[in-house]
Symmetry: C2
Subunit: 236 residues, 2 copies
Amino acid sequence: MPDAGMNVERPVAAIPLKVERQQLHDTVVGHLRRLIIEGVLEPGKKLNERELCETLGISRTPLREALKVLAAEGLVEISPNRGASIASMSETEIREAFEFMSGLEAFAGELACERISAEELAEIKSLHASMLTCKAQNDLPGYYQRNQAIHDLINQAARNATLRQTYVSLNWRIQALRFHSNHHVYKWDRAVHDHEEMIEALEARDGKRLSNILRHHLLEKRDAVLSMLQANTLKL
Amino acid sequence: MPDAGMNVERPVAAIPLKVERQQLHDTVVGHLRRLIIEGVLEPGKKLNERELCETLGISRTPLREALKVLAAEGLVEISPNRGASIASMSETEIREAFEFMSGLEAFAGELACERISAEELAEIKSLHASMLTCKAQNDLPGYYQRNQAIHDLINQAARNATLRQTYVSLNWRIQALRFHSNHHVYKWDRAVHDHEEMIEALEARDGKRLSNILRHHLLEKRDAVLSMLQANTLKL
DNA sequence: TTTTTGTTTTTTGAATGCAAAATACAATAT
DNA sequence: ATATTGTATTTTGCATTCAAAAAACAAAAA
């Protein structure tokens, strides 16, 4: 007889009932992922197990488990008997990653048009306004964060957990690039214009249009990142 | 000075130079994946580590590493301190998986139209013919295998490794369903007709059209699997 | 000097061991 | 009898250990 006479539920709002527990290896996955995305651990860098263990203050077992997971995600590469290293993407891989992302976002946009709620749409509009403020103040990190949040919200509005999982995972790999391509400032106005069109399409629930905008938006981002990366390479 | 005077390369054809080595945990991942996809390990089944170790003839360390990887893939679920079990999909998850797959295949089809080679197209046609033979002989496994191969070839023709990786991984999860939905015999003629249209579109390099066909093809498959599953559930 | 071969050191792969948590079970109280 | 608390057993999480492979280094030969 569950729930009978249980008047202790949801004391105030939607506080999740059970305590969140994490296994050490999960914590390590998150931690390492962050270090990779933030560019602390650079692409190609060899990961010495003993060394990393000491740094993180854990033993080899959970670290190795974490590395296997990150390898499955594509952030880390493991060669047998030779250890792990941070994955580095070739130009081709970068092209493909962005191409795939353009497909993912286009599809998510189409679904979002059918399923987005009024609240979510309002949230996106608000984020867009906030993004414009950041732009006016030349606040690049702020701009970037809002931009990311908008794309993320559209993706969530697609209401497809599997699609979302793939999106998030691919996004990590793409973000890992960001810190090695100089926080691309490129075609700022064009990007803002794209976003305005995106919102229009969303409001009109015009899936095909949103889909097209997102597709091209991402392909432009790809080109920007690629040219940044090439410029960087030349500098070295 | 590498390669100097090395006349021992490629004795006959394209034999890969270096010996393929596998780590134990990788072997185990593949092995378990197969067991899950083939339905030997049923959804929801609890995996006892000690037990599995004895069955597979390995120790717990590589097994646990393998389980983490499979969990990242979504074939296995791990709850902290409580062990692993074969993932089972809810109806919603199944809907979403197929919906996502429809998006993936549609996008892959569009790319494939731009990039497929004449040889690949011929291969697909040949597979289609072979599939028809299987149909005529009521060879369901054979039919299914060719069908799978055609979709796989289209996906490969998209020439995008990241997209392909996601496709393959999602396919595993979908295939794991197959053995619990009675090898759906559903709408056989309609499926064949779809395939003929797909080939037409590919030949015409009509990306949009192929994309649409694949999208609907997958959504029909979704409905077939869902109704099969519901029929199965009722039987129990 | 350069290349090759043999040896030492380091690093990784996998098994085992120990502690903590969960489950199963039994005993007591209601 | 049912519910609850306490105890024993099992199972999991993580650290450690041991063996195998790779890398680094040194010695010998060309």
